[in-house]
């Protein structure tokens, strides 16, 4: 007698798994990583490796020895967190900084809430913000480490364009003066800009990753596009009102962590809303808060805080923003 499987319908299943989705995110990060390695050499490799290994290690230890549950490091989600954490740090960070960040990200933000799928906040971002508050000097040290591929001195060694702009404005200069003094060009911002986190070097590489994620249907385009659109519209309006004080859309989109945040951090499945309506509100909020922090806040950069603040609204957004139901609106014939 033949042995046959019995189960309820459906009898077919997508090939995708949590593992394959996370692997796709890692692949999408590869272009940015390669660009960073080119510019920052060994320190980029070191940071990412330490980030990935320590995140996976922390998750393993907690699952195996503390929670005594099934170890699920094979799903690559800890690896993604570690990789994103490293990409959000300054290139000259010491290795132990990443390690501490990984303990916070995985140990506190992810595992105490119940592991994969349960956390409220984006683990990598909390790790980054924890480090920013605890080690402010290290986290704003934008000196550029040695690279095998690159020699000579670059234009921006001291600080990020955002920080330079904020300092300049504080010193009473106008934007055109700051831009002229520092030789900012948009060509550089779009293709490569040195001065910023490991993963922020090339906008083009990040956009390449975005396109890959869209093609592989890993993420939907709503969140990144709405964030970028909101930032562009809002800074556009402010810039029109007073171009001497308020930076414009291109500058705001292509500097700092906006692209990295919009494409890879805000789209984290676990900490973003489930319905399209929720996604749009969430992304709009991130855009607005980012601009407000950049224009009026104490920090030159606001994306991380904006995403974490909007992470808090996700449970509410999920409760009140339902997907379009088939059976709700009735038109009678």
């Amino acid at each position: 007698m033949a042995r046959l499987l019995i189960s309820g319908a459906p009898h077919l299943h997508v090939k995708e798994s949590t593992q394959s989705l996370m692997r796709d995110v890692l692949i999408a990060l590869a272009p940015s990583l390669l660009v960073s390695i080119y510019f920052f050499g060994f320190s980029a490799i070191k940071l990412v490796l330490v980030g990935v290994i320590s995140s996976v290690f922390v998750e393993y230890v907690i699952q195996k020895f503390i929670l005594k549950t099934k170890v699920t490091i094979n799903d690559f989600s800890a690896a993604v967190t570690g990789c994103l954490l490293a990409l959000n740090l300054p290139p000259s960070s010491p290795w132990w900084l990443v390690f501490i960040g990984a303990i916070v990200a995985i140990g506190i933000v992810k595992m105490t809430f119940g592991g994969l799928g349960q956390n409220i906040f984006n683990p990598a971002l909390v790790g980054r913000v924890f480090l920013l508050i605890s080690f402010p000097t290290l986290m704003t040290d934008w000196s550029i480490p040695e690279s095998w591929f690159r020699s000579g001195v670059d234009a921006f060694t001291g600080a990020t364009p955002l920080a330079i702009t904020q300092e300049g404005l504080a010193a009473g200069l106008t934007l055109p003066e700051i831009f002229a003094a520092n030789e900012f060009t948009f060509r550089e911002m779009i293709f490569v800009k040195i001065g910023g986190s490991v993963g922020e070097v090339s906008a083009l590489a990040l956009i390449l990753g975005f396109v890959y994620l869209l093609i592989r249907k890993v993420i939907r385009p709503h969140i990144p596009l709405v964030i970028l659109g909101t930032i562009a519209a809002m800074t556009g309006i402010f810039n029109l009102i007073n171009p001497d004080i308020y930076t414009g859309p291109l500058f705001n989109i292509f500097t700092g962590g906006v692209l990295l945040g919009a494409i890879f951090m805000a789209t984290d499945y676990v900490t973003s809303p489930m319905s399209v309506k929720g996604m749009v509100i969430y992304a709009f909020g991130i855009g607005v808060i980012t601009v407000l922090i950049r224009y009026f806040g104490a920090y030159p950069e606001g994306v991380s805080f904006a995403i974490l603040i909007m992470n808090m609204t996700v449970p509410l957004l999920n409760k009140y923003c339902k997907p379009k139901r088939y059976a709700k609106e009735v038109k009678h014939g």
Partner: protein, 446 residues
């Protein structure tokens, strides 16, 4: 732009391997095991006894309620037993067992191939003929057709919608009849329009069946009230609610029947059965069945007498293939896994599908990563991840009702899409049944 439904849906690999195989007549079995539960509703009651001689087309079971139907013998021979026997899941169901002798049919049945276009019957006569022929919906649910063609007096049907979408992967039986017998389907549709007293009829066919669209359009060309509409391929287009929206733009309200928006939906196979019942006096005693699967060497479409054992059909393709891991009766998305190979075919069986372990075995469940792929896929706009969570907490029936678990059409899109391999539909199906029971009890109390 081609029409389709607006919410959710998925694109599984279509694998229509048997699409070019002509319909072959399957040999009459030596013994036919005819189930009395051929339709949704209460099973028929056997009206023959052991030792009776029967002809093909003769009534052997009579309806036992409003939602029930006649069952006819599909073969000629001697009744050897009227007994309980396992259905495809192994549950006991009353069967009439007939040892086949020759192939003698009842005299009133017109077995010629001539197309009869003239419809000299009134609406009531048509319904009576359909009822007496034991016609059931051949889209899968096997709802008695005469009941569906007779909507409540206070509701007015506006459209007859004929479902030729065949959106399930693998199955090609509807595709084949649309290509080989389009005139009969179109006349069957006209008959149903007459029964329903409607002026408009849409025949929806997915665009992965261009030959069927061509042949049906040609057959329908002399009936201006019938419009063949190509639809953009997307599963579950053949779901009644999805098809109605795709074709008319109207959405059926929660818990309501399609007639609420003026639509009545029937399958192309049903239209063919109606044609045969009304124009040829032929009861529904055979079915068009696709036998296929990636592990099957020859993909075939058969016309099979009702009551033919599954095992006989598998013999015809050279027995159960070595790497077959599951036998599905129906499509891979909504069909039933067969537990009992000794079960026999029913009127509404459209396919026997063999799947390999790699194709069908479910992987181990892991944590929900809240990717929202289930929500994106759900054609009813529900949130399967949430229904799963609420169901597993237990007892949260009010919350489940609020989240419209009762709107689930069990199409399987959620479970299909889940990268964490959570058995969403398995869990939701149970909650849905519980919530529906609670809602029914509450409305009875009022």
């Amino acid at each position: 732009m081609k029409l389709t439904f607006s919410i959710g849906g998925i694109h599984p690999k279509e694998n229509k391997l048997s699409r070019d195989a002509h319909i072959e007549t399957f040999p009459i079995p030596d013994v036919a095991y005819i189930s009395m539960a051929q339709h949704l509703g209460s099973p028929a009651e056997p009206v023959v006894q052991k030792g009776d001689k029967v002809k093909a087309g003769q009534v052997i079971g009579k309806p036992t309620g409003f939602i029930s139907g006649f069952v006819h013998s599909s073969v000629s021979g001697t009744v050897t037993a009227v007994e309980s026997k396992g259905d495809l899941a192994g549950n006991p169901v009353m069967h009439v067992v007939i040892a086949v002798e020759g192939d003698e049919w009842c005299e009133e049945i017109d077995r010629s191939k001539d197309i009869v276009r003239e419809i000299p019957f009134s609406s009531e006569e048509i319904l009576e003929k359909i009822k007496n022929a034991g016609v059931v919906g051949l889209g899968g649910a096997a709802f008695p057709t005469h009941v569906k063609l007779n909507p409540p007096k206070d509701k007015k049907a506006e459209w007859l919608i004929i479902n030729g979408t065949e959106c399930e992967p693998y199955i090609t039986s509807d595709d084949r009849i649309m290509r080989e017998r389009p005139d009969e389907i179109v006349i069957g549709s006209v008959i149903m329009m007459k029964a329903l007293k409607v002026e408009k009829c849409y025949i929806g066919i997915e665009d992965n069946k261009p030959e069927a669209i061509t042949s049906m359009t040609k057959a329908a060309s002399q009936y201006p009230q019938i419009k063949v509409v190509p639809l953009k391929k997307k599963y579950p287009q053949g779901g009644e609610k999805q098809l109605i929206e795709a074709l008319t733009g109207y959405r059926v309200p929660s818990l309501a029947l399609p007639i609420e928006v003026g639509a009545v939906v029937h399958n192309v196979g049903t239209a063919l059965a109606v044609y045969e019942a009304v124009q040829k006096n032929k009861p529904l005693i055979d079915s068009i069945i696709t036998v296929t699967g990636t592990c099957v060497p020859h993909h075939r479409n058969f016309i099979v007498r009702v009551g033919t054992p599954f095992s006989k059909m598998l013999d015809a393709i050279g027995g159960l293939p070595k790497d077959a891991a599951k036998l599905v009766c129906g499509g891979p998305m909504m069909g039933k896994a067969v537990a009992n190979l000794e079960a026999s075919t029913l009127k509404a069986v459209s396919s026997l599908l063999l799947l390999t372990e790699a194709e069908t075995k479910r992987k181990e469940e892991s944590n929900c990563i809240r990717c929202a792929k289930c929500t994106e896929a759900c054609p009813m706009g529900l949130e399967p991840y949430l229904l799963n969570k609420l169901s597993r907490i237990g007892g949260l029936y009010d919350e489940l009702e609020q989240e419209k678990v009762h709107d689930c059409i069990e199409c399987g899109c959620c479970l299909y899409s889940c990268p964490a391999h959570i058995p969403l539909l398995d869990i939701i199906r149970v909650s849905k049944a519980e919530v529906l029971t609670i809602m029914r009890n509450r409305s009875l109390k009022k």
